[in-house]
Each structure stands twice: as C-alpha cells, then as structure tokens.
C-alpha cells in the first residue's frame, strides 16, 4: 500500500510538471465566454469561420461563471496574459474601460461600416464610455413584465396593468396567504424601471451628483416598503438573485415578475403549468426597461487586435450570430439575424415568442445603463440602503439621505 502511494505521488508530480506553459508569441487568440460551456457547436462555427480568414491561428476557449469571471480575468491581466476577447454582462466592462484596460473599438467600427450597419445603434450605444465604444453586442435582452394569468383570473383582474398604480393595485388583489403580487429581479440595476416609471432620476444630467433624493422618491420607496411588509411585493425581490425569484415564480405563487426575457425559458423548464395562455409577457408601463445584455470586449493587452476584431465580428453578426441565437436561445445585436431567429423561435419554441417580441420595442426607453466609471461602486453605495429601506430595517428618508451621501462620495472620489 505504501509503495503504491509513493509511486502515485511521484507519478503525479511528474505529470504535473509536464504540461508547462505555452510559448509567449504563439499565434493564438483566447476567447473567454460567460457561463455558456454548453455552447459548443456554435462556438465551433465561429472558429471555423475565423480559420478561413486566419488559417495559421488557433483559438483557445475558456468559460467562466459570472461570479468567477472577474477574479480570473483580473488575475490574468496582472500576469500579462489576459484573454484577447471577453464576454461580459452588465456594467462590468465600465470598470475596465475607465481604467484603460480595454481596446477602443471605435476605429474598427468606423472602418467596417458594413458590419456596424447591421447592428442596432441603440444597443451598440450601451457600450459607449466617454465617446468611445468598447463592446459589441453578443446577445441582447432587457426586462419586461411576466404575468401569472391564472392568479390574475382568480383575483378578477381582466386588464393588463398600464401604469405603476395599476401594477400595485393588481399586486394587492393577488396577494394573500402564500401568494404575493409582484416580484422583481434586483441584480445590476434591473429594478430601476420601477423608479424610472415614477420619474426618478438617479443622477443629474452632468452625472456629477445624486438626483434621486426627492420627496417623490421617498413616497415611492415608502410605498414599496409597505407593500413588501404586507407581502404584496415578495421579499425575494430585494434579496434573491436569479434562481430564487425565478424559482418562486415557477412555483406559481407570484402574480407578476419583472425580469428579462431569458427568465421565461428558465421557469418554463421548472414548471409544467407555464404556457402562453397562463403566462403573459408585456412591456412595462411607459415602455421602461433595463438592458441586461452581453457584449464582447477586447483586452488592451491583446497581441492580435486585428485577428481578435475579426473574431468578434464573426461571433456577433451573420451566421456566427445566428449560431449564438439558436445555440443559447437568445436574440443578438444583428437586425437581419434577429428576423431569422424570430422565425426560428416561432417554429421551435413558440411559447417564448411573446417575451422575445418585447425585446426590441421601446429601445429609446432604456434605463439603468448609465456609463459610470465606477458603476459597481455606485451600486454598492445605493442598493444596500434601498434594501434596508424596503425591507423595513431603516427609515426611508434616512436610508435615502445616507444613499445620497454615499453616491456623492463615490462620484467625487478618485
């Protein structure tokens, strides 16, 4: 037994030392995707297309979960070996871009007009910081309101809500016992449409100072807090991330869910009662929504910017984008491809079509996608205070004052 263990140990050490490190100037680009390891066929489509242009290059692929991606990426940046292309969600790219960690894509976009022309300008504008564009849309989604029509019927609600007041009234009618009326996702700025539809501005026009601390906001948060205490708004709205809220909606005890389109396929897979008759998908009052799209960005440290750009174009337009859409059940930033994709979904997964149809409506009413250099720090300054207020831990006025102070501190600090 002992000899065996020793031999195993020696063998393991030898094995471990063999693979070693890759040569530095190898003709290779590295692409890091965000939580889509199952997306294999489509990725191969990208690689095959890319090899047609650059046959001497190899493509390395890494996939990371969103919670680990920043850790891995930034460690690689420090080590001088960042992946050339990275798939990022939400405002993560802003931290990197504002500190000079990303390649400015504007010259590429201006040069390759035929590519740029395929994209929705409103969507592309999501990745603009100080006049420069740092990302191209990989897949696109934004929030909408899902309705549990069974619960609406039971509560005698015949009309879809068209204003914030109507949402709250409907929620009150549906709530009771185990049932709650409304739930929202809260990560990134996904809950912000609830504020935008009440006319709340987060910062002033110059983006230098908090503008949300008004009597109207106090009244609004007060209302949200009371509804939460009474169980009209589900508490998970303010504490859960993704699995919990969607899981709760799947359980059939939540009247309305404010979430982005991919939530549909998720809760549909968990609950057999979900179909287009029982779950409605509508735009929020006023058309407001917060995008939760993914972009491809290019690391500043890349040794192969031209090749990387070619890969990015392949992945985000034409056949490559279509492979993305069908492979992950998402819409893309390419208008022509989306038409094909909608036809594909109508045939393959008709149930998801109503939700997807909302995704390219009201593109002028996107909110919560402000290009702050310190996006993450601002969330950290604002959200815990809001959370304390709506969960009844802190007086609303006090919480908003404190949030204002913290937000201003972030905006003014270096």
């Amino acid at each position: 037994m002992k000899r065996l263990a020793a031999a195993l140990a020696a063998g393991a050490l030898a094995l471990g030392l063999l693979p070693g490190m890759a040569a530095a100037q190898e003709k290779k680009i590295t692409v890091m995707t965000w939580n889509i390891p199952y997306f294999e066929e489509g990725f191969q489509v990208w690689v095959d297309e890319f090899k047609k242009l650059h046959p001497d290059f190899t493509v390395e692929r890494i996939d990371m979960k969103g919670t680990e991606l920043p850790t891995f990426y930034q460690t690689q940046v420090v080590a001088g070996t960042p992946p050339d292309i990275v798939d990022v969600q939400g405002g993560l790219w802003l931290e990197y871009a504002s500190q000079g960690g990303l390649t400015d894509l504007t010259p590429f976009l201006e040069r390759d007009k035929d590519y740029t022309g395929r994209l929705y300008p409103e969507v592309l504008a999501n990745w603009e910081y100080e006049g420069k564009n740092y990302g191209v849309p990989l897949y696109v989604s934004k929030t909408l309101l899902f309705l549990n029509r069974k619960m609406m019927q039971e509560a005698g609600i015949t009309k879809d809500p068209e204003s914030f007041d109507e949402i709250m009234t409907a929620a009150e009618k549906m709530a009771g016992g185990e049932k709650t009326g409304l739930m929202t996702l809260n990560f990134d700025w996904l809950y912000w449409p609830l504020f935008a539809m009440n006319g709340v501005e987060f910062v002033n026009e110059a983006g230098t100072e908090a503008a949300f601390n008004t009597p109207e906001t106090v009244a609004l948060v007060q209302r949200l807090a009371e509804a939460t205490q009474k169980g009209v708004i589900d508490k998970i709205s303010w504490t859960g991330r993704w699995v919990e809220p969607n899981g709760a909606f799947a359980a059939g005890t939540v009247g309305m869910l404010h979430a982005h389109a991919p939530a549909y396929l998720w809760f549909q897979s968990k609950a057999d009662w979900v179909n287009p008759e029982t779950v409605g998908a509508i735009n929020l009052p006023g058309g407001w929504s917060t995008p939760n799209s993914h972009a491809l960005i290019m690391s500043k440290g890349t040794k192969w910017p031209e090749q990387s750009w070619d890969f990015m174009k392949i992945a985000t337009s034409g056949a490559g984008a279509k492979a993305m859409g069908t492979g992950t059940n998402n819409l893309t930033g390419d208008r022509a491809v989306n038409e094909e994709l909608m036809a594909y979904f109508a045939k393959e997964i008709p149930a998801v079509v109503p939700a997807l149809e909302t995704q390219f409506q009201n593109l002028d009413k996107l909110t919560g996608n402000w290009p702050f250099a310190k996006d993450a720090a601002l969330k950290e300054a604002f959200y815990p205070e809001l959370q304390a207020a709506v969960l009844g831990e802190k007086d609303v006025k006090e919480a908003l004052d404190s949030a204002e102070r913290k937000v201003n501190r972030v905006l003014s600090s270096r």
Partner: protein
C-alpha cells in the same frame, strides 16, 4: 469504566445525529427525486426515486477525467501534508533559538485569508512554471498550519520518558520520529490525512485561477461548469454533491478504521 448507564449517552448522540443528518438526508432525497425545493409543503419521503440525475452528471461533464485530476492532486497533498507537517510539528516541540518567533509566524500566517493572496500567488506560481499543472494546484496546500499544530499537540502528549529512553539508547533523531513518534501519533496522522484530503478535494478558487486547460480541471470546477449547464438547484446538483462527497467520507472511514480504532491498545504499549 462502565459505572454509568449508557442510554443517556445514546439519547444525546442520537439527537445530535438527527440534527446533523437532516440536511444531509435532504440532499440525498432531492438527488433521487429532483423535486423543486420551493414546493410546499415539503415532502418528507422520496416519491418515485430514480438514479437518472447521477447518470446525467456522469455524462454532462467529463466526470472521470475530473475525478482522476482530483485524486492526483489530493494524493500529492495528503502525502506532502503528513510528511511536512509531521516534520514541522516535531521541530516545534524542540527547544531552539527563534522558536517563539516561528510559532508566532505560523500563527500569523493563518490569519491571511487565501482570497487576498490570489494575485501574488498566481504570479509566483507562474514564475515557478507550475501554472496549469497538478503540482501547481497542490503546492499551496502541501503544508497546513492547523495540521502542524495538531502534530505538535500530539507529540507533546507523548510521555517525554519514552523519547528520553530512546535517546539514551542512542537512537538518532530522525529515526525517533519515524519509528517511535509517528506510530504513537496515529490519531494526528489520521486527522492530517482526513483534513488535508478534504481541503484539497473541495479546493475551488485556486484551481479555477491557475487552470486554463479543460483536461486539467478538478471536480469542484466541474460543479461550477455543471451548474451553468443546468442552472438548477435541484436533482442533478445534489446528485453531483453526493458524488463528490462520497470519496471524502470513504477516506474518513478508512482513516478512522486504520488509525483510530487500533489506537486505544497501541498508545500505552511504549
């Protein structure tokens, strides 16, 4: 030592066992039925149990490949821990200049959370040429301070007379360690084996950061990968947890049988 009734001990231990087992039972049950854990009221007994989630896990990721990697890393870690910690623990029982400082240094080293060492540790490992390797995954875990102190405590509990007797007989120090002390510290060795195995087996963030090659991934990385495939908190996830847990328990049972049970008779022999 049989002067008191046994049943109160059993009652107390059964109560503790129940508390410890309930969450565990739930993992096992859910891994067999895959119920939505948000269903109410919770079903206490499994309905229609089936092994399909285990099959899913086996095929959804290269489970065997990851298992082999995990085993290799853990074997290296366990072997290194028993030897290195035993040596260091023994050294700390001796008087030498700088002993107090060394102990303080060890204690202080414990107070540095791994999470803040990621970037410098990565750079150093890269300098050593150990990125993307089993050795690189194992190295930071190859000696653990808690285990050094477990050895130290065990060594100190050995009657000094025994070691002195051996010294008088002229047995060299290194032989004292391996021939006299190690056999007498079986519980400490078992503890080292168990703990270092668990730490290495469940290690997640470090392999995540230094492994780029898919064929080098370990089981916890597989969990992360797997989670993104199923985006799920039910059946398959719990099946995966059970599959990853079993080796840890087996090691515990083996170590326990091998070292602990034979102990009561062995400890006083010398």
């Amino acid at each position: 030592m049989h002067r008191y009734p046994r049943w109160p001990v059993h009652v107390a231990l059964l109560a503790v066992s129940t508390i410890m087992l309930v969450p565990f039972y739930w993992v096992l049950k859910t891994s067999l039925t895959g119920e939505n854990i948000f269903a109410f009221p919770p079903a206490l007994w499994p309905e229609n149990p089936h092994p399909f989630f285990y099959v899913d896990v086996w095929y959804a990721i290269p489970f065997f490949r990851y298992l082999v990697n995990s085993v290799i890393v853990s074997v290296v870690v366990v072997a290194a821990n028993v030897v290195l910690n035993g040596m260091a623990g023994y050294a700390l029982t001796r008087d030498f200049p700088g002993k107090a400082t060394t102990i303080l240094l060890f204690l202080s080293c414990m107070m540095i959370p791994f999470q803040v060492t990621i970037i410098p540790a990565y750079l150093i490992t890269s300098e050593l040429g150990l990125l993307n390797s089993h050795a690189g995954m194992a190295l930071p875990l190859s000696s653990t301070i808690v285990c050094i102190f477990i050895f130290k405590a065990a060594f100190e509990a050995i009657p000094k007379s025994l070691i002195d007797a051996a010294r008088i007989d002229g047995v060299p120090d290194w032989m004292i360690v391996f021939r006299i002390i190690m056999p007498l510290t079986k519980p400490a060795i078992a503890t080292n084996v168990i703990l270092s195995f668990i730490w290495s087996w469940n290690s997640f963030l470090w392999p995540l950061v230094i492994i780029r090659d898919e064929t080098m991934q370990t089981l916890p990385l597989g969990l992360s990968r797997f989670l993104s495939v199923v985006e799920d908190t039910t059946g398959a996830l719990y099946a995966f947890c059970v599959m990853v847990l079993v080796p840890g328990l087996v090691i515990f049972l083996l170590a326990q049988k091998e070292f602990v049970s034979g102990l009561t008779s062995g400890a006083t022999k010398g």
